[in-house]
């Protein structure tokens, strides 16, 4: 990864300094063609050559080799939907613009998902379907009848009266239906907007807090079974929410529900104890589930918010979805975006786990950005089932960079996945359900 930006930085600085490639190559004692390869990020660089180039360009070697930002590169690749070289170039030469482009691409992706969800709703809403059918019938009757009256002659008087009556009846019905429709759309519009905003608000709140709530980790060490403990927890959460006056309506409820779940997890799996046990068990969720007597979904959540400055733990991403694929909880991993409104890549092992409820699936994935990940997916019913009862399934998937995974080999073929069809660059994927939003 290091070499991906160093060359671009060297080229940019050399150009700014007004030094030719040949001149610089001669100064540092390498061939111009080799320098050219370095500048185009096709050769790695380090050690003495890097020091010499830095000296010749009047800068520090560390400034040229400062670490890349994988999230920015990944987001930019999503935005550019093409080969990696220009993306790395852009990130190195114009980091500010690159950040802006990546942020805008993320925003576009989210808004596209909102539009897609709303469009889906318009297509499948029974009220809308029935209303549109009614309006078309009214219009058909009015158009046919009015045309007869306007264009045909010698219509018997009684028939003319009937036609006028039917025009009146149909126009009143049309008027009533369109009024209902206008009211419905106004209501649906505001509900949809607040729902989208609520999820976005929850994401922003969690990201701002880096998915950690130390106060809940500290205050919920005791058993939450007593009413007094629950009341105290409510008070703490109320105080946290009071500090976020921008959270209203659905967003307020979503954040409250998240914090309650976090507190329950914190109570059942106290941070320090959990961190120590997790390390001892090589972060194996099965062992932790047994040790703390919690289901795997809870253990996944706790593992996903374990990574923090004072705790040594791999950084996990996490997504929990309903059986329809709608995200109930999402904690993206840097470089691995998670869709906010469903329509995730159907090849994720997450969805395979629905066919094997209760069975954790360990799998390797290669994202269309080229990054390798390991995942652990698990589906189960939300509640204990009675005999003959159908389960309301949810599935969770932990995601971790392959090279940092503590889980070992998966013994399964690597799944070639993306985030969602709309932003996936894979060509010829049999699972594709919609075309790429921005064609390269």
């Amino acid at each position: 990864m290091l070499r991906s930006l160093v060359g671009s930085r060297i080229r940019e600085l050399r150009r700014r300094s007004g030094i030719s490639q040949t001149q610089l190559a001669k100064t540092v004692g390498i061939s111009p063609s080799y320098l050219n390869l370095i500048e185009h990020n096709k050769r790695g660089i380090g050690g003495q050559i890097l020091n010499s180039i830095a000296e010749a360009l009047n800068t520090r070697a560390s400034q040229l080799s400062e670490s890349d930002n994988p999230t920015l590169l990944s987001d930019l690749r999503d935005a550019a939907e093409r080969s990696t070289e220009p993306v790395e170039d852009l990130a190195a030469r114009f980091p500010g613009w690159a950040t802006l482009a990546a942020a805008q691409a993320r925003k576009i992706r989210d808004q596209e998902a909102v539009i897609s969800a709303l469009s889906d709703r318009l297509s499948h809403d029974p009220f809308l379907s029935e209303t549109v059918h009614g309006i078309l019938s009214n219009v058909t009757a009015i158009r046919s009848t009015a045309s007869i009256l306007a264009q045909m002659e010698a219509i018997p008087e009684a028939q003319v009266k009937d036609f006028y009556k039917s025009l009146h009846t149909e126009s009143v019905r049309l008027s009533d239906t369109t009024e209902d429709l206008a009211a419905y759309l106004a209501r649906a519009g505001s509900e949809a907007a607040s729902a989208a905003t609520a999820e976005e608000a929850l994401d922003q709140y969690l990201t701002r807090n880096q998915y950690h709530f130390e106060i809940l980790d500290q205050e919920t060490q005791s058993d939450l079974a007593s009413n007094a403990a629950l009341a105290e927890l409510d008070e703490t959460i109320n105080a946290m929410l009071a500090a976020e006056p921008q959270l209203t309506g659905d967003a307020h409820d979503l954040v409250r529900a998240y914090l309650h779940t976090y507190a329950e997890d914190a109570c059942a799996m106290p941070l320090e104890t959990f961190a120590s046990k997790a390390k001892e068990a090589s972060f194996d969720p099965m062992i932790l589930s047994r040790a703390f007597d919690r289901d795997l979904h809870s253990v996944f959540r706790r593992l996903a918010n374990l990574h923090r400055p004072r705790i040594e733990a791999p950084q996990f991403g996490l997504i929990t979805v309903s059986a329809s694929g709608y995200p109930l909880l999402r904690q993206p991993l840097p470089g691995f975006a998670l869709p906010r409104h469903g329509n995730a890549c159907p090849l994720w092992p997450l969805f395979r786990s629905f066919s094997q409820p209760g069975q954790p699936l360990l799998a390797d994935m290669e994202h269309d950005t080229g990054q390798q990940y390991q995942t652990l997916a698990f589906a189960s019913s939300r509640k204990q089932l009675k005999l003959g009862e159908n389960g309301d399934l949810v599935a969770s998937m932990l995601i971790v960079a392959k090279e940092k995974s503590p889980f070992g080999a998966s013994f399964q073929p690597t799944a070639m996945v993306g985030t969602a069809c709309r932003i996936c660059t894979r060509v010829g994927c049999s699972a594709r359900t919609s075309s790429q939003l921005i064609q390269s």
Partner: protein, 121 residues
Amino acid sequence: MNQRVLIVEDEPNIASALKFLLDHAGFDVVVEADGAQAVARVSESGADVVVLDVMLPNRSGFDILRDMRSGSHADTPVLMLTAKGQAQDRKTAEELGVTAFMTKPFSNAEVIKAVRELAAL
């Protein structure tokens, strides 16, 4: 002898306008509003052409068309009317053996032209 047209349509004002138009165009027209009675009315009326709505009480136009095609009305020309006009409706109708397809709202001239063409088959 005039050719006979059966209109299967539950919206009375549309049925009334269609009946007037087709009467005026020289057909003998019968109207049926109930989907459950439609197939029997095709036989009773001896219809040469059937104008069939999709959304009907009791039975859909698709069910009626399916019964007609699998029974003794395999060749009776059918003009299907739908308020949806979606690609899937047209595809379903074609698979079931519809002769012509028209989406609401339509013009009077279009309907008369279509029924005349079907009657000439």
